[in-house]
Every structure is written in structure tokens, then in C-alpha cells.
Symmetry: C2
Subunit: 408 residues, 2 copies
């Protein structure tokens, strides 16, 4: 007889769904589609030649290391390089504060594994990153969403949330996915102080921090926390777990990211990672280390910034011109996404099918709301398409929005 | 104040320990150490040049695919190639039956996630692979160990275990890690029939199947199951989840493995993988696909077999000559490990320190016993060291064993 698999799954699998984004992406694979749905970096800025040379060096200079099993915490020279570079952003850390992860998604999963019992609460921004919700649902998390304004998570609302009790606070401070909003310096300081007062750790997810087009860099929440604590002997020992990735700086196909935090917590995370995948590809870690040497990464990030700025500008200009006045949107200073608010009562999920018929796609914003709401919002990616394509896609979408808003 | 991390961890982290093997490996890093402890493939057979060429082709021909986000289930041409190749071993499957994983360790983790509620039982061979225990401990598994003899898991004991109730059976049928034992064809058939009769799925972990030096290839448990069921329209829909990996055929540093099973179960596994790491490195998958074309893998496996056979022979010959008569060991027909039994009452963990003082290392076998026992056993790896080094290491160990056994 056949195996009735559906009766054999663990309780945690109930309600585990495929990511709506990954399912939507399948619908939007037609060549004539203009998709603002994906969260894809621009392939035009992939450093193919530099990476090719680095991959060769990895295999020429370190063939055995690149192809053999490696340590769970990651390739030591890469961890040391990340530690050194973090100092640039005001965060004094050592390699012992760092674990490499297989993409930031794995860091989110491992942190869920470390901290979450079924029913534990997580404080999230509203909206928040869908991948985090997906990771933590597997551990039975519940969510306390904190409203945001143009300066990010609203501090007074955060304190109300903290009084409900939570295992940690999840914040994506720079050009947040999906909203594009940046957490102001004042709010970062308030967040650090409140988290410390209530004894609740902060997970700072920062994939886009270096991809800023306008305005001044703000210190990471981790470095605000470090300053707040005063002494730092070179080993960060604070309340923030900082995540970042090479996915947006080099290429996501390599799956190389890192987590920074107190040494004792990183050790525990490394234990959890042993059971999850033993270690991240040695070859990719060495190649990423090789390509990052000699200032290449700094130069390359300039190209990414220029490219994405042009695309963001194209999208904003086209929206200013072609979207109906009843629709509003955020104006991010960096990153890959902006967020659109339709008039109350409109449903971006219902609209999605009509948009796809006209060969333009986005992600309905409801997906990013951990406990419901946001039906009238949509996430738009501006990093993937060229300026001309963006203009054409916004024209298609603007026409649809006008028809829908003015049809009655 | 400092964050008291140790009070914040989830219940599942209690008792999660760093793998004893990975900790032992740190002790055995001295250059003068002869280590039979690791589970490392021989770096002398890493196909450095072929892989270098394949990595280049991946970046020349598919630069965008190699560096961009990919699908969670994996690179389609690689899954199709694996499907086709599986037919060779009597298992008719399609790409829809296959998901790529980030090493087999990730497959073990994801299967724990899919099936195990806290307290659920898993039937394991005794001894069994430590990495599986480590993966499933995180999900609160309990274990029912089934004794083995020279033909693998003893069928009568398996049936007793099945009557206790279990979520699945975990079997490593070829040149098992750690015992080196191979499950006989008759036992494979009995295992399939018993598992079907009790309605309990089988996880077949087969990293070494192609690395056979002596004797005839046996059909995989999955293909025995497929035949047992009769009809197979090209989509395998049976009771076995088959795992294998490129770690032992090409190089473990790439972290490319695969899981085969019923399409409905694979879909669920892919959902779980989305939350765990989004997908496995696109670049590595494409490079592995490239290097495997044109019969390279078949030729390369011959080199691995010849190299490991020579090393196994060197170890067996040295043991025959230099180990005391009171000590016995398995004589594996393939793979990377053999298993030593010391006289009852001796403790291989206690002996370990003395061995390390003499610059020779192994893994105490107790680590592979899911619910205790095996204190007088040790796992010996023969794939990593050259024949001369093996002989020298066995001489050191033989001397120590004689001293310990004859000292009283």
C-alpha cells in the first residue's frame, strides 16, 4: 500500500506553506512579464570576472581547504576579515564573535532554533521580512507587530510590545524589506535602551546597509548598543545579534552570510549549525574571501549603489508621473524595495491577477504583515529591472490603478 | 548589564552538544598526529583540475544563473541528471522526486523537521551515524537501537523495534559509518517488507554506495522497495527516502547532496528547506553538474575506489600483524571506515588520551551508540591517510593496545 505521508508529518508542519513570493515568482517567469515581485539583485552588477579569478585563486592556492570539510563556524581568514571590517562601522569585534552561515536565511532559522519554544513571542516591525516569519513559524513563534512611520519602528509602541513579553526583537533598520524605511538614529538609541531595560535581545538584520544612495550612514544597532555599554575590549559582548550577507554585495547564489554576537551565544549557534548542515561551503567562503581583498568590494559597492540609485529614481519619477494621486509610496534612501499604499478598501492581492494579465507583477503587502492587515499595500522591487523596463512596468501598473480607482 | 544568554535558550538546546568528533578533531590537529578519527575523504583524489574547469564553465556559460538566487528544490539539469543516473541502480525516478540539499546533513535535519514531534521514536542501527543523532536530538527524538551482525541490522530485532512504534527507520546500508558493515540483500528485502507491513517509512542514507572495492553491488533499499511495489510509472512513490551526496564522489567542501522520495513528501521537504536556507548554492550546483558530464564521474570513482582499497588493505594488513589477538575488527568491502572491538571491560574513551599522547587518534565508538553501550569499540577511518602513515599509526596503536591488555 502507499505511504500516507500527510498523516506522518510533525505538528510544526501544520500550516507551513511555501513562501507566497516564491510561488508568485513562478507565475511571473514569462519573458514578457515586468516583475517588481522578486527580491533579486541586478545581474548586470554581478562581478563575474572578479569572482571567476577569485574562484581560480581559491582552487590554485587552497585546493585542499576549498574542497575538504571545514569548521562549522567558518573559514578563519574570512571571519577575521569581517571582524576587521566591522570596526569601520564602529563595532569592535573579534573572529570569535562571528559565525559564517549559509545565507542570512540560515541565521534566522538557527536563531529560531536557539531561542524559540512553541508559543514564544517575537517582536517584529509591521510590515516585516517574510523570510523571518517563515523561519520562525517552524518553531511555533507568535508575533507582536510594532507599527512603523517614516522613521521606522515607533518607540512608544515598542515599549507596549515589550511589556507583553518576548524572546527577542527583530529589526531590519536600513531600507527595510519590504517598506524601504530606515530606522532613525534617535530610534536606534531608544531601541537599544528599551531592549536593555527589559532584558530582551535584538536581532538586527542588515543585508542592505552598505547600499545607501542618499544621506549619511547611520551606526548599526549593534554599534549603538556597544557604545551604550561603554567598555569594549575588542570582543563584543552586548545584547544585539547582527546579521549581514554577501548576497547583496557580491551575489546571492553563493549563499555566504554571517552572524555577529556575544561569543557565548555564537558558540551555541555553531552547535546548532553542526546539526543543521555541518558547515557552509568551504570553496565559496574562500572564493568570497579572495574576491573581497585589495579593496575590490569597496569599489564594487559603488557600482551597485550607482546602478540601484538610477533604478530607484526611475521608479519614483515614473510613479510621480503615472500613479493616481490617491496612491502613496515610500522614498527609500537605499536598498532594493519601496512600498506602496493603495486607498483604503483596495486589495492588492485581488489586483494581482489583473496586473499579471497586463504583464506586470509585485508582491501583495499583506504577506509581510505577521498577524494580518496591509491588504491595500504592495512591495515593489527596483533593483532587478533596467530603468526603461521600470518605466514601462510602472506605466502598466499606473493604468490599472487608475482604472480600478476611478471605475466607480 | 550583560545579557544572560544561557537563560534565554529554547528547551531543545538543553543537552545539545558540540559533536564529539568535531571536538576530537581539534585535538588531533598537530602535524605529528596520525589521525584515524576524522571522516575525511582523501585530498589526493580531489578532482581539482576537472572541478576548476567546471567552475569556469559554470561562470562562462551560466554566469547569471550561477550567481543569482535559485529555486529551493535545486538546479533542474542537476536533478534531471541524478534522476537519470538513479535508473542505473534500478530506481526509476523523475526530477520531481528529487530535492538538492546542502549536504546530506541538511537532509537529515529537514527530515527531522518534517516528521519528528518531541518524544517520537526513531529506529536506528546500533551503532549508527552520529550526525543523524545530532540532527534529530534538536527535534526531541528518542531512539530504538537495533543490533547488527556482519550482515547488518538483524531482522528479528527490527520487528521487535517496530512493535514499539516509530516515526521512521534509519538505515545506512553500504559500508556503514561507523561499522563498515553492509546490509545483505536478504535483509534489505526483509527490511522493506517489515517497514511496509508496519506502515513505517525508511530513510536510506547512502553516501558510500559507489565506493565499493570488493564484491557485487547490491540494489539500494529504495529500488528493492520499488520492485516490491511492482508498478513504477517513472515517478517513485514508495516508502523509502533515499539520501546521497557528492561529498564522497567529488568533494565535501561543495556541500551538494540530494534526497529522493515520493513527490508529495519531497514537496513538503522543499517547503521546510525554504525556511532553513532558501536554497543551496546555485554556483556549486551548476559546477557539480558541469563536472559530472561526459562520464567524468564514473572514471573518477574508479580512482577513489583504487585509492581507498589500497588504504583499507594497508590498515587490515597492519592490524592483522600488529594488533593483539584479543582485539577484533570488521573487514568492510568499501567506504571509509572500519570498526574495532576491544576486549570487554576496556574503555576506548579512557584509552583515547593515551593514544593522543602517542600521536595516534580514533573516535571512541560509544559516540555512535544512540542509547549507550559500545564503550569497548572504536571507529577507524582509512580513507584519509596514505598506506605508510596508516601502517605507522596502526603500529603505535597496536603497541598501546598490547600494553593495556597485557599489563595486568
Amino acid at each position: 500500500m502507499e505511504t500516507p505521508w500527510e498523516y506522518r508529518y510533525a505538528y510544526r508542519m501544520k500550516g507551513m506553506k511555501s513562501s507566497i513570493i516564491r510561488e508568485l515568482l513562478k507565475l511571473t517567469q514569462k519573458p514578457e512579464m515586468i516583475s517588481f515581485a522578486g527580491g533579486l539583485p541586478s545581474p548586470e552588477v554581478f562581478p563575474v570576472d572578479a569572482f571567476k579569478a577569485a574562484a581560480m585563486r581559491a582552487l590554485d592556492v587552497h585546493p585542499e581547504k576549498a574542497l575538504q570539510y571545514g569548521t562549522t563556524e567558518g573559514y578563519a581568514p574570512l571571519r577575521e576579515w569581517i571582524a576587521e571590517r566591522s570596526g569601520r562601522y564602529g563595532l569592535k569585534v573579534s573572529a570569535a564573535n562571528i559565525s559564517i552561515t549559509s545565507g542570512s536565511q540560515q541565521a534566522l532559522d538557527l536563531l529560531g532554533r536557539l531561542f524559540l519554544n512553541r508559543g514564544d513571542r517575537v517582536i517584529v516591525e509591521n510590515p516585516t521580512y517574510l523570510g523571518a516569519i517563515q523561519a520562525w513559524n517552524a518553531y511555533g513563534a507568535e508575533y507582536i507587530p510594532v507599527p512603523m512611520d517614516e522613521n521606522g519602528m515607533i518607540t512608544e509602541e515598542l515599549e507596549k510590545a515589550l511589556r507583553k513579553g518576548a524572546k527577542f526583537i527583530y529589526a531590519l533598520p536600513n531600507f527595510q524589506n519590504p517598506s524601504g524605511v530606515t530606522l532613525s538614529l534617535q530610534r536606534r538609541q531608544a531601541l537599544v535602551e528599551l531592549a536593555d531595560r527589559y532584558g530582551v535581545p535584538i536581532i538586527e538584520d542588515d543585508p542592505y546597509g552598505q547600499i545607501r544612495f542618499d544621506g549619511e550612514d547611520l551606526p548599526t544597532i549593534a554599534s549603538v548598543d556597544s557604545q551604550y555599554r561603554g567598555k569594549n575590549d575588542g570582543f563584543y559582548n552586548g545584547n544585539v545579534i547582527y546579521l549581514s550577507t554577501f548576497s547583496k554585495l557580491l551575489a546571492p547564489g553563493l549563499r555566504i552570510a554571517w552572524a555577529i554576537g556575544a561569543e557565548t551565544m555564537i558558540k551555541k549557534l555553531v552547535q546548532a549549525k553542526q546539526g543543521a548542515d555541518l558547515h557552509t561551503s568551504s570553496f565559496n567562503q574562500i572564493a568570497v574571501h579572495e574576491v573581497s581583498q585589495g579593496g575590490f568590494l569597496d569599489e564594487h559597492v559603488k557600482l551597485i549603489r550607482a546602478t540601484y540609485k538610477e533604478r530607484r529614481d526611475a521608479m519614483l519619477e515614473a510613479m510621480d508621473e503615472l500613479f493616481p494621486a490617491e496612491v502613496t509610496w515610500t522614498r527609500p534612501q537605499g536598498g532594493m524595495f519601496l512600498f506602496v499604499h493603495l486607498p483604503k478598501g483596495m486589495d492588492a492581492t485581488e489586483l494581482f491577477e489583473k496586473a499579471v494579465e497586463r504583464n506586470v507583477a509585485y508582491v501583495p503587502g499583506a504577506a509581510f504583515h505577521a498577524v494580518g492587515g496591509g491588504e491595500n499595500t504592495m512591495r515593489m522591487n527596483f533593483s532587478y529591472s533596467t530603468p526603461d523596463t521600470i518605466r514601462e512596468g510602472i506605466a502598466r501598473l499606473g493604468e490599472l490603478l487608475k482604472e480600478e480607482i476611478y471605475k466607480s
